[in-house]
Symmetry: C2
């Protein structure tokens, strides 16, 4: 998740401040946890963790805890755990996808090899669970581990639907909620749990996280078609090449007549690396209004996320943090990269 | 770790009984944890977990808890967590080593691909921590996560010493204690913690585990030279081909005169896939008594493990479980595969 585009000023300041605090805490935590460790392990972890990431997950943990009235030093250590897990996931993903690049530089697997990427990912995974268990006990750990397990299941389900034009919208949403929504929800829920929130607040923040996570993924899938390569740093059309059936295509399929559906199916079965095939699919989705309806869906998800925050109406101080969560949700729709 | 060879009858019966209980609990746990999950994820986990493993790690947890007076249903679920982590480690190792085979059948990565092996390993890693956190709280989780982090560091250090004939014995032991000793120690210590053992008992069992883990690794390194391929199912000489400097070689190097050391260095730098090079190294180690002294070292490690158990002398019932731990330690020296 990236927040640079059109972010309201207040959110931008808070995001930057929290990011700085998180990086300070990460460095301090690594110094303790890596004392006496192998220099290469230290180098790989530094390389993967300090590369300009926007620290959105820790920001969510911090804001959710603040909404529920807690803001202390330990919160930033807890928030760090979510960045660790996120980076662990990216390292393993890049091994799986044989990705050469990550955030404009060589991926860990490309630069240090598969062994380093898998093992350093495992190290971060263990460290993140250690911190969450220490700071939020078995209850936090259960939320977190279930989200991790669900993420893995989402990856397996996604593999199952590759190239399958019979994929239904509910399959798509099951995958994105498992891959992205649940983890963002756990990030928020554990922040609330840490602050000793009421179950209703914890549930509301989990719902918020689940829906902004899903919205984020829908926008990501839209940007794979509509994104400005200069801004995103990624080529468009990757999902088509990989055979991923995403929401714009699903919306188009749901409106296609028999002939058009057959054309789309033929494109999915054919050589998907051909630029003409991609241009053809793009034009069909556009004509069938797939992009606009997917954008509406993202908007609805954000609305659901905002609705969930309605239970927060207590003190002025909390209201300020809730307002930032709302801005963050709205920003997701506006992001261009 | 494998226990078939020359195992005393009583240990064999207990090991088989515990293995059966563990498999029953694993199946029940997976049924809950994998409810509604992707069929391929379920298949991969079943394939990797139920393939004739000897369940030595869970056996250690069970025996250590019993030594400290606790034996109930939850113990077997806790013990299962160590088998999960072990299998997760094997899956990731096989991706790193591009291993085609595991226990005489296709490895997960060979059969289901890299993505399945990495992701299913992550799933088991998360599940094992979840169980340990739930059953032993932050204290158990801390022991466990530190052992996992240390294992990763041991792998990095091992990579650093590949082919380096200036490796010292203390480097070798640092690597094997981190890669094997610490995790076995945590398996034992968490069993004790679960039973509410006194710190002294927990410490004694951790020392026992650390030393049998190290002894196991020394024997493993010896079998890489001396093993009967028919019994072990592995070719000998793999460590030489991979450039691993193990204890028999280190002992030989410590006794070699300048000329012999230069010969060994030349062999390590040369084409290590040549059978003649391996035969030459083997003969040099044998002549310099490297195999016998490494075996003595393994014996000393087992003695240290047995000494640590001396604090257990309470009831007859505990004595029975302690006796099994002793038999298991001695068996490590006798194993031929």
């Amino acid at each position: 998740m990236d927040t640079e585009t059109k972010q309201p000023q207040e959110l931008r300041i808070v995001a930057a401040t929290v990011a700085t605090q998180i990086e300070t805490v990460m460095r301090a935590d690594l110094e303790v946890a890596l004392a006496g460790c192998d220099p290469l392990l230290i180098e790989v972890l530094q390389y993967s963790l300090f590369n300009g990431g926007k620290r959105i997950r820790p920001l969510l943990t911090v804001l959710c805890s603040r909404c529920c009235g807690r803001d202390d030093d330990a919160l930033y250590l807890l928030a760090t755990a979510f960045e660790y897990l996120h980076v662990a996931t990216l390292m393993h993903d890049d091994v799986i996808d044989r990705a050469e690049q990550r955030r404009g530089q060589a991926s860990v697997t490309a630069r240090y090899g598969i062994a380093a990427a898998i093992l350093a990912g495992d190290w971060l995974h263990a460290r993140s669970m250690h911190l969450i268990g220490r700071l939020t006990g078995a209850e936090g750990l259960e939320i977190f581990c279930q989200a991790t397990a669900s993420m893995v299941n989402g990856e397996f389900e996604q593999l199952r639907y590759v190239g399958d034009t019979n994929t239904e919208e509910r399959h798509y949403f099951a995958v994105i909620r498992q891959k992205t929504g649940n983890l963002i929800a756990s990030t928020c829920a554990i922040g609330a749990l840490f602050a000793g929130a009421e179950p209703a607040q914890q549930h509301a923040l989990a719902t918020y996280g689940d829906n902004i996570g899903a919205a984020f993924q829908v926008v990501d899938d839209l940007l794979d078609f509509l994104g400005d390569t200069g801004a995103t740093g990624k080529k468009t059309g990757n999902d088509f090449i990989e055979g991923k059936i995403t929401l714009p295509l699903l919306h188009a399929l749901s409106r296609a007549d028999t002939g058009t559906r057959q054309t789309i199916e033929a494109l999915m079965r054919g050589d998907r690396t051909q630029p003409e095939a991609y241009a053809h699919l793009y034009a069909l989705i556009d004509r069938l209004d797939g992009f606009n309806t997917a954008e509406q869906t993202a908007r609805q998800l954000v609305d659901t996320a905002l609705d969930a925050l309605a239970i927060f109406s207590a003190s002025d101080q909390e209201r300020e943090h809730v307002a930032l969560l709302k801005e963050l949700a709205c920003y997701i729709l506006a992001r261009k990269k």
